[in-house]
């Protein structure tokens, strides 16, 4: 059964990741056209991010792992995303060596975002219940 705060957690995660999609879907296109027209960039299925973030935050609300902070919880998702992106780039035949740095880069980005944005939103909207 899905509890209210779990659904809310999903919506917070999905909403934030959906907002981040402004980067790849709007800013990149505008910046690309203005500053580096014709520059090909690897395309990864970022459209899945809202679902991933939503489910991950739902799991956080449901499980509340006592030993982990929400920042570390987000970093684990970042690590999984970075690994998935590398596998995807390999499978698509467009992998490049610098992509391996995503294994470090994304967990740090996600740590910051989950610690500074998702966590406070969870607190404010009552997602953070009693730890089990």
């Amino acid at each position: 059964m899905l509890r209210r705060r779990e659904l809310l957690a999903y919506l917070i995660g999905a909403g934030l990741a959906g907002t981040i999609l402004v980067g790849p879907y709007v800013l990149r296109i505008i910046a690309g056209e203005l500053f580096i027209p014709g520059h090909a960039v690897p395309v990864v299925p970022v459209v899945l991010l809202p679902i991933l973030w939503g489910v991950w935050n739902l799991l956080w609300a449901r499980r509340h792992p006592a030993r982990l902070s929400i920042g570390v919880w987000g970093a684990v998702l970042g690590l999984a995303a970075a690994t998935g992106i590398n596998v995807y780039l390999l499978a698509a035949g467009v992998w490049f060596p610098a992509a391996a740095l995503l294994i470090v880069f994304l967990p740090v980005v996600y740590w910051l975002l989950w610690r500074l944005v998702v966590g406070p939103l969870n607190e404010a909207l009552g997602v953070e219940g009693k730890r089990t």
């Binding site: 981040i20 980067g23 790849p24 800013l27 990149r28 690309g32 580096i36 520059h39 090909a40 960039v41 690897p42 395309v43 990864v44 970022v46 991010l49 995303a81 970075a82 992106i85 780039l89 490049f96 610098a98 992509a99 740095l101 995503l102 470090v104 880069f105 994304l106 740090v108 980005v109 740590w111 910051l112 610690r115 500074l116 966590g119 406070p120 939103l121 607190e123 404010a124 909207l125």
Partner: protein, 71 residues
């Protein structure tokens, strides 16, 4: 009395106030949400510095950021 006259003499329809009632209901249910941001310390600054350093050293920063899904 013709039917039209009867209708005209009938009770007038109440003024349309659906939006007013809806707005009042929304205001009643609305509450102020206070978002408290955690203090930004050396850990966060070091993280940002590490991110900037990584983007600075990769040969194709745009492609790298695009692959990260953040840009």
């Amino acid at each position: 009395m013709p039917t039209l006259g009867l209708i005209r003499r009938g009770t007038p329809a109440p003024p349309p106030d659906l939006w007013t009632r809806f707005e009042a209901q929304m205001r009643e249910r609305d509450e102020v949400v206070r978002v408290t941001l955690p203090a930004v310390g050396w850990g966060e600054l070091a993280a940002v510095a590490a991110l900037v350093a990584i983007v600075a050293v990769v040969p194709d920063p745009v492609g790298f950021l695009a692959a990260s899904g953040m840009f």
